[in-house]
């Protein structure tokens, strides 16, 4: 094992592994360090891994649309088949309800512009397509103890239906696949290796020091620490140069039995339901994953120390999530007790990720993923390699942001839109991005 490389990647989640793959593919020697036991074993393993295109900004929509093509040709993207198994894209389609809190009109405009097909469903069509849903409009989402929780619907919902969305069946495996491909190109992964210091020399980054005292040296260090990334930016002393910051947010996702006729295998779509403040994602075997969309009435659980948080779902959030889901799906049988996950997002100020350099030459970051970047991981690796290459070739990405041309559309994605120095983007201000 060498203790020096062309690049060190901190974090072996799905994005860190993708960054490692693209840097290694570009000819760099790469060492990846992660404090956890395996690739994707952190927040990645708890991701709902939804592939969708419903974002608020042109660059975010294009990024998701381009990345989806990489997931759909996973072996082609990796260039190698992992003998331990390959993650699979499962197509479900995505139903997005028209609600006052959503940006459906903006999304429709962007989808028209980029050629992303969708259907508009009026209330009658929505009822005919999904007769198991109560399509009453209950906005805004409420807590159970709100006296208006059980109010009658104010009107009937309409929706848009997009057919190419879906999810990745095993998020941790997808990170392992990326790590396998990166190793194929010579990258080295070191697990249970915690970074405690960012080394610098001559005014630029020089490597990292690990908790066991080992020093690794490289002229490029990339922070892909997920919920630990803001701490790592603090270690590097680069946080003051950022206009957008990120911090860990605790989130719960529940696993429940899907009602008869509304299974994945029945063609039940994923739903983005800001009317009740929950999303539903069907999964193989007759269950749903139910997560939240940060409605205003729900307190956000910001976490000071990402190594210490309650890793069990709470009865309180379980009950409100189930009661809301039962409004939308009258046949839904509320489980007796919570089954699910509590894990951490790394949420930026505007719920848009940061893919960027830093004020310290050689130190880069892919962070602030805000619970909505799993889908973009294979492309984020390419973004970071493009920014790192441009800087190596003398371009100042701050002054001349890299324009990344997507292979699917031929359109340019302005990587400056993911700058740490940006003004906050106008988004939904939630995980929907």
């Amino acid at each position: 094992m060498s203790d020096s490389a062309d690049a060190i990647v901190i974090g072996a989640g799905v994005i860190g592994s993708a960054v490692a793959l693209e840097l290694a593919r570009g000819g760099r020697s790469v060492i990846v360090v992660d404090k956890g036991p395996a690739a994707g074993a952190g927040s990645t393993s708890s991701s709902s891994a939804i592939i969708r295109f419903s974002y608020s900004t042109p660059d975010s929509v294009l990024t998701a649309w381009e990345a989806a093509a990489l997931w759909r040709d996973w072996a082609g993207h990796l260039g190698v088949v992992d003998p331990d198994g390959m993650a699979q894209f499962v197509r479900t389609g995505m139903l997005i309800f028209n609600t006052p809190g959503d940006n459906v009109a903006r999304i429709e405009r962007l989808w028209h512009e980029f050629g992303i097909a969708f259907e508009r469903l009026d209330s009658a069509a929505l009822h005919e397509r999904l007769p198991g849903l109560d399509i009453g409009a209950y906005f805004p989402p409420k807590r159970i103890d709100d006296p208006h929780f059980a109010d009658d619907a104010s009107s009937q919902l309409t929706a848009i239906y997009e057919h190419e969305s879906g999810f990745i069946d095993d998020p941790m495996l997808s990170a392992r696949n990326l790590a396998h491909a990166a190793k194929h190109h010579g990258a080295e992964f070191r697990f249970r290796a915690e970074v405690v210091e960012i080394l610098r020399a001559d005014g630029r980054v020089a490597g990292v020091r690990l908790a066991d005292g080992a020093e690794l040296h490289a002229p490029v260090v990339v922070n892909v620490g997920g919920p630990h990334s803001s701490r790592i930016n603090d270690l590097a002393g680069v946080s003051d140069g950022m206009n957008i910051h990120s911090r860990p947010l605790r989130q719960e996702v529940f696993t429940v039995e899907a009602p008869a006729g509304m299974h994945l295998e029945d063609g039940f779509p994923a739903t983005a339901d800001l009317d009740i403040g929950q999303y539903i994602r069907p999964q193989p075997g007759g269950t749903w994953a139910i997560g939240g969309t940060e409605p205003e009435c729900d307190q956000l659980h910001w976490i000071a120390d990402p190594d210490h948080f309650d890793e069990y779902p709470t009865v309180e959030q379980f009950e409100v999530s189930m009661m809301r889901a039962a409004r939308r799906v009258p046949e839904f049988g509320i489980p007796l007790r919570p089954v699910g996950l509590a894990a951490l997002y790394d949420v930026s100020d505007d719920w848009v990720p940061i893919y960027d350099k830093s004020d310290m030459p050689g130190f880069f970051m892919a962070c602030g993923t805000s619970g909505n970047q799993f889908k973009n991981a294979p492309l984020s690796g390419k973004f970071m390699a493009a920014i790192i290459d441009a800087e190596a070739n003398g371009t100042d990405h701050d002054a001349e942001p890299v324009q990344f041309v997507g292979a699917r559309t031929g359109r340019s994605i302005n990587l400056g839109s993911f700058s740490r120095r940006r003004q906050p983007s106008s988004t939904s201000g939630t995980v929907m991005g």
């Binding site: 956890g36 036991p37 395996a38 690739a39 994707g40 074993a41 393993s45 708890s46 331990d84 095993d170 998020p171 941790m172 495996l173 392992r176 697990f191 996702v253 696993t255 075997g285 994953a289 890793e311 069990y312 779902p313 007790r337 919570p338 089954v339 699910g340 996950l341 894990a343």
Partner: protein
């Protein structure tokens, strides 16, 4: 009580290792493994039941003793 993990079903959330760290750990792939050979000590049975009940993938399986 005896317990095993369905390695194909496990997605590596590690919620079992949080519930019962004496019984469950992670292998080099991040998947759950049972650390105890044979019968689970009685004092750990409640923790193991909690781990089984909260596994989102239903990957923890009890075997008859």
């Amino acid at each position: 009580m005896k317990v095993r993990v369905d390695g194909d079903a496990c997605h590596g959330h590690q919620s079992c290792a949080i519930a019962a760290p004496e019984v469950f750990g992670a292998d080099d792939y991040g998947n759950a493994v049972v650390l105890i050979d044979g019968t689970i000590p009685v004092e750990l049975e409640a923790k193991v039941r909690r781990a089984e009940g909260n596994c989102p993938e239903r990957a923890i399986i009890f075997d008859d003793v």
